[in-house]
Symmetry: C2
Subunit: 136 residues, 2 copies
DNA sequence: GTCTTCATGAGAATGATTATCGATCACAAT
DNA sequence: ATTGTGATCGATAATCATTCTCATGAAGAC
C-alpha cells in the first residue's frame, strides 16, 4: 500500500478553505494570497500554492486554467464529477452536470481505440446581468 | 473599420507553417524553435512565439494548454470548429466533430441566461498502441 | 511536557512568455 | 533595378507565475 503522509489542520489551511467557501467563483493562488493577507491573515505564498495543489489532488477543490494560463481554484458544492459555465466578465460560475457529454466522450474514446480517457470541458460566456450591460 | 496590418510572407513564417504541417501532433513554441534550429533553420525564439500567436488568432492553427500550462499548437486538417482526442503518452491526435456537444453547450447556455458562449472541450487518453504496451 | 514529523515562509531559482528597439527584409511603386 | 516605407526579425532584458530550499515553528501522539 502507498503510505499517505498524514495531514494536519493548520491555521493557514483552514483560512484558505474558508476563503474559498466564501468566494463563489474561481480565484488564483496570487489572489487568494493577497486577499487573505489584506484581511489580516498572515500566510506565505508558497503555502498557498502548496495547499491549493494538495486540495485539488484530493478533490476538495476544482481547478481550471484562466485564459492567460494561470491556475484558478474553486470550492464546488457538487461533490461528484461536473463541469462549469463561467461568466467571462464577472466570474460568476454555475456547476453543470452533463450526462450527454460523459456518454459522448466514452463513445468517441471507444471508436478510436483510446483507453483511460479523461476530458476537459468548460463553458465561457456572459451571464445575464453582464450581457445586459454590454453594448451591442 | 479596424485596419488589419498587412501580412508578409517570410522565410521564418513559412518554416513554422511547414514544420507544423509535417508534425501530426501538438508542439510548443519552445519545441518548434529548438527543432527548427536543429534542422538548420535559423530563427529567433520571439519570432516563433509571435508567429504562433498570430496564426492561432487567424485560425490557421489550433492551440491547447498542456498539463503544465504551456501552449501547444497544431495545424489541423479539419477547417471548421472541432475538438481533439490526444494520446497522453505519444501525443497522437485525432480531430473530432461533435454535434451533440455543440447542441448541448447551446442548450445549457440558454438555460442559464448566458450569451456569447464558447467552449473548451478536449479528450485525453491512451491510444491503442500506447495502451497495449502499458502494464495493467 | 516531550518528541517526532509535517508544515510554514522568506527569499532564491526556474522557466515560459513578453517587451525592447535598432537592424533587416518584403513588396509595391517608380 | 532602385527606392521608400512599414512590417518583421532577433538578441537580450524584463515579467511574472510557480517551484525550490531549508532553517524554524507547530500539530498530534503518548
Ligand atoms: Zn457576469
Ligand atoms: Zn465530464
Ligand atoms: Zn499513443
Ligand atoms: Zn465544439
Amino acid at each position: 500500500m502507498t503510505e499517505q503522509p498524514q495531514r494536519r489542520t493548520t491555521r493557514q489551511r483552514t483560512a484558505i478553505r474558508e476563503f474559498l467557501s466564501g468566494a463563489g467563483d474561481f480565484r488564483t493562488a496570487q489572489q487568494i494570497h493577497e486577499q487573505l493577507r489584506a484581511g489580516g491573515d498572515p500566510i506565505g505564498l508558497a503555502t498557498v500554492y502548496r495547499t491549493l495543489q494538495t486540495m485539488a489532488e484530493a478533490g476538495d477543490v476544482d481547478m481550471v486554467r484562466t485564459a492567460d494560463g494561470e491556475s484558478a481554484y474553486r470550492r464546488c458544492t457538487t461533490s461528484g464529477h461536473h463541469h462549469h459555465l463561467v461568466c467571462r466578465s464577472c466570474g460568476r460560475t454555475e456547476e453543470i452536470m452533463a450526462k450527454v457529454v460523459e456518454a459522448w466522450a466514452a463513445t468517441i474514446a471507444a471508436e478510436h481505440g483510446f483507453t483511460n480517457v479523461t476530458h476537459d470541458v468548460e463553458l465561457y460566456g456572459l451571464c445575464a446581468s453582464c450581457g445586459a450591460r454590454t453594448v451591442t
